[in-house]
């Protein structure tokens, strides 16, 4: 334990407190307290952020992901072509920078009426939109009028603009990644923390259950479940409850990925529980609730965050994989995996429309890499073993 870099030489008062305490009494303490309140320590989170900042790749990834997230959220506002408008005349146009802009969006504010009784409205070329998206779309019309970006990334077999579909697909892909991961997070953390904290036979039983679930080949199960639920009759029934494929997907994926999360959290809770500061808290009479919320949970955070950044990409990949097989997101919704699937389908020995495959794959690849780099960076930054002791 070498001394600490942030250590100040005057941290020690030198002489034991007794003699000094006698001198000033309470006034002195009050002065010291005032002084102390102006000095901030560096929390582990800030310290981690400081270290993360030095990791260029991780910061680059973080920047990219933030940008991607912002763009995905504000997609309706961007002057993109409608992602669903079929223009058979413009089939299979290769990427070209000309025309960069065209004034040909045939959509005006009057084209649809906001019906306050319905939360979602179908907008020509855009599909069903929620309230916020409609608002953004209106803003777009106000800002850009009928201008839209040309088909920079080419068009697909139905003449739809690839770039626009990439952005709208990002919304779905990212949403799937986030929501499904959150589902797994909630189940996993609750399950793992309970097992880890209670310990004993409860823990044993709970973990054996996890072990058993682990041994099930989930891909087949998922494919099976989704295929069955896609039976037209079942499907109609589900949809009347507002359950579509996407929702099923969230539930199913969440149900798989929580297993690992539960294990990770349980392990962490067990090791934290044995940490002496927990025993120290018991020795000063802290209640169980206090120990869990004041001492255990804040220390779980870093592990959970790291695991999160590493789970999102695998969920996204899984979604892409299922969409690729035609079992994930459904037309006319669009996701990156689905786009790649469509792109591959139209490849013939005579002609490959490369842009239909390359762009969605690239988007997916770069996002996954960024998430992984960020996860690695976070792990390094938060890892207490690398902490200067």
């Amino acid at each position: 334990m070498a001394a600490n870099p942030t250590l100040h030489p005057d941290l020690m008062t030198g002489s034991g407190g007794r003699s000094r305490a006698a001198e000033g009494g309470v006034e002195r303490y009050e002065a010291l307290l005032r002084e102390a309140q102006s000095i901030r320590g560096i929390s582990l989170a800030r310290d981690a952020w400081r270290r993360l900042r030095r990791n260029r790749i991780a910061i680059g990834s973080l920047g990219f992901l933030t940008l991607l997230g912002v763009l995905a959220i504000f997609t309706p506002f961007l002057p993109l072509q409608p992602p669903r408008t079929v223009k058979l005349l413009r089939q299979y146009q290769p990427p070209s920078l000309w025309p960069l802009f065209e004034e040909s969006l045939s959509l005006t504010t009057e084209d649809w009426a906001d019906d306050p009784t319905r939360s979602r409205t179908v907008v020509e070329g855009f599909g069903e939109l929620g309230g916020a998206s409609r608002l953004l779309l209106r803003a777009r019309l106000a800002a850009f009028g009928n201008w839209q970006i040309g088909s920079i990334c080419g068009t697909d077999n139905l003449g739809r603009d690839v770039m626009s579909r990439l952005f709208w697909g990002a919304r779905v892909s990212l949403l799937v990644g986030l929501v499904a991961t959150c589902v797994s997070l909630v189940i996993g953390v609750a399950y793992g923390a309970v097992a880890g904290y209670l310990g004993g036979w409860v823990d044993n039983l709970m973990m054996r259950i996890v072990d058993m679930l682990y041994s099930i080949p989930f891909i087949f199960v998922v494919i099976f479940v989704i295929t069955i639920l896609s039976e037209p009759s079942l499907r109609g029934a589900l949809e009347s409850y507002g359950i579509d494929r996407l929702v099923i997907f969230f539930v199913v994926v969440g149900a798989i990925y929580w297993l690992t999360m539960a294990r990770v959290v349980r392990g962490q809770v067990i090791s934290l529980k044995q940490n002496q500061f927990v025993e120290a808290a018991r020795a000063i009479g802290a209640s169980r609730t206090r120990i869990i919320f004041r001492h255990l949970v804040p220390n779980l955070l870093s592990v959970v965050i790291v695991y999160l950044t590493l789970t999102i990409p695998s969920v996204m990949l899984f979604e892409a994989f299922l969409s690729f097989l035609g079992l994930g997101v459904e037309r006319p919704d669009v996701s990156w995996g689905l786009m790649a699937n469509e792109g591959i389908k139209v490849i013939t020995p005579v002609k490959t429309y490369w842009w239909l495959v390359i762009f969605p794959s690239l988007a997916l690849g770069v996002t996954l890499f960024s998430l992984n780099f960020l996860g690695d960076g976070l792990r390094d930054a938060l890892d207490p073993r690398l902490k200067h002791r």
């Binding site: 070498a2 001394a3 250590l7």
Partner: protein
């Protein structure tokens, strides 16, 4: 005395870390004679382990790098050897007992495999002979029913036994030099006594020179002939063991001796060294001990005191004599009346 077995000159090791470059070892020199035990004492993080690892070419790179120095052993400079050549010397003619026996033993191999591997490679023994030899070595380091235990895995041994396995492994090629990095720190005193006894015996039998790294001055007093005191990557005092304890000159050494309670004396007040262990990334200018030193003056902040016999000249003192790196060393006590009550 004959030429030294190993002579290290001006060894320096740098690590690049979060806080920038830090010099973990900053220009140390020493020589080691056959059959002698040299102690290196110092606080945690003062560079004791790194200085030995550097000589054996084991400094992790990156972040570590040997930036200067030479270590002459048998006509070659160990620091200039290529990894292949080094691996022929390491483990055979020079070996090391690592600070943490659990990380140094492979948990997936039986003790037998790990012990015979060395002798098969370096001494060219057949598997069978190597096995017999390994059992003999384990018996010598005091592991009961060695013939049976040898097929166990490291985790089946207790801490003390593991340490003894390490010692058996380090000694099985009868090295000329043994670096023992805190071989007993993790152990209980009774086990420590066993192991030190054992090292002494083997040393007497084989004439091995030992570099003993420790932070326990008691161990040093018991087994070493010469001692180097290390602080913040440098040697601050170098003396034979009697001189060091009878008339320590460097304030850090004096401080250390005053801050340990002694078993054979009760009720003596302890005088701790004030302040905190040094932080290599933010050392004060001049003498690294300056901000904890009670004798420091302005001069100490201006220059780094050289390691000399008289506190002034840079020329070496008498070979084997006492040297210290301080501008204001403690005076030598009167030779006559010294023994303490």
């Amino acid at each position: 005395m004959a030429a030294p077995l190993l002579s290290v000159t001006d060894l320096a090791v740098e690590f690049s870390t979060d806080e920038g470059k830090l010099r973990a070892v900053d220009g140390i020199s020493y020589s080691l004679n056959p059959g002698e035990t040299l102690g290196i004492v110092g606080e945690s993080g003062s560079g004791k382990s790194v200085s030995s690892l550097a000589i054996l070419g084991l400094v992790p790179y990156p972040p570590g790098r040997v930036t200067s120095g030479a270590a002459r052993f048998d006509g070659v400079d160990l620091l200039k050897l290529r990894p292949r050549e080094m691996s022929r010397i390491r483990g055979r003619r020079i070996s090391m007992i690592f600070q943490d026996p659990m990380t140094a033993l492979n948990p997936f191999l039986t003790v037998e495999r790990q012990l015979t591997e060395v002798t098969q490679r370096h001494l060219g023994l057949s598997r069978q002979r190597a096995q017999r030899y390994a059992i003999e070595m384990l018996e010598r380091v005091g592991i009961p029913s060695a013939g049976r235990r040898i097929f166990d895995y490291p985790h089946q041994f207790s801490g003390g036994m593991r340490q003894r396995v390490m010692i058996a492994m380090a000694l099985s090629c009868k090295p000329q030099i043994l670096f023992a990095d805190e071989p007993t720190t993790a152990l209980d005193v009774t086990i420590q006594a066993q192991i030190l006894e054992l090292l002494g015996e083997l040393q007497r039998a084989e004439g091995t020179a030992i570099v003993l790294i420790t932070h326990d001055l008691g161990v040093v007093a018991g087994v070493c002939q010469r001692v180097n005191v290390m602080y913040a990557g440098r040697f601050v005092e170098e003396a034979n063991v009697d001189d060091l304890f009878a008339r320590p000159r460097h304030p850090y050494t004096v401080g250390l001796l005053h801050s340990i309670p002694r078993l054979d004396r009760a009720g003596e007040a302890l005088t701790p060294i004030p302040g905190q262990p040094p932080n290599l990334a933010a050392l004060p200018s001049g003498c690294a001990f300056r901000d904890r030193c009670l004798r420091a003056s302005e001069m100490c902040g201006q220059a780094v005191p050289p390691l000399t016999a008289d506190g002034k000249s840079t020329r070496d003192g008498v070979k084997g004599g006492q040297r210290f790196a301080c501008f204001h060393p403690h005076p030598v006590p009167e030779p006559a009346g010294a023994p303490t009550p």
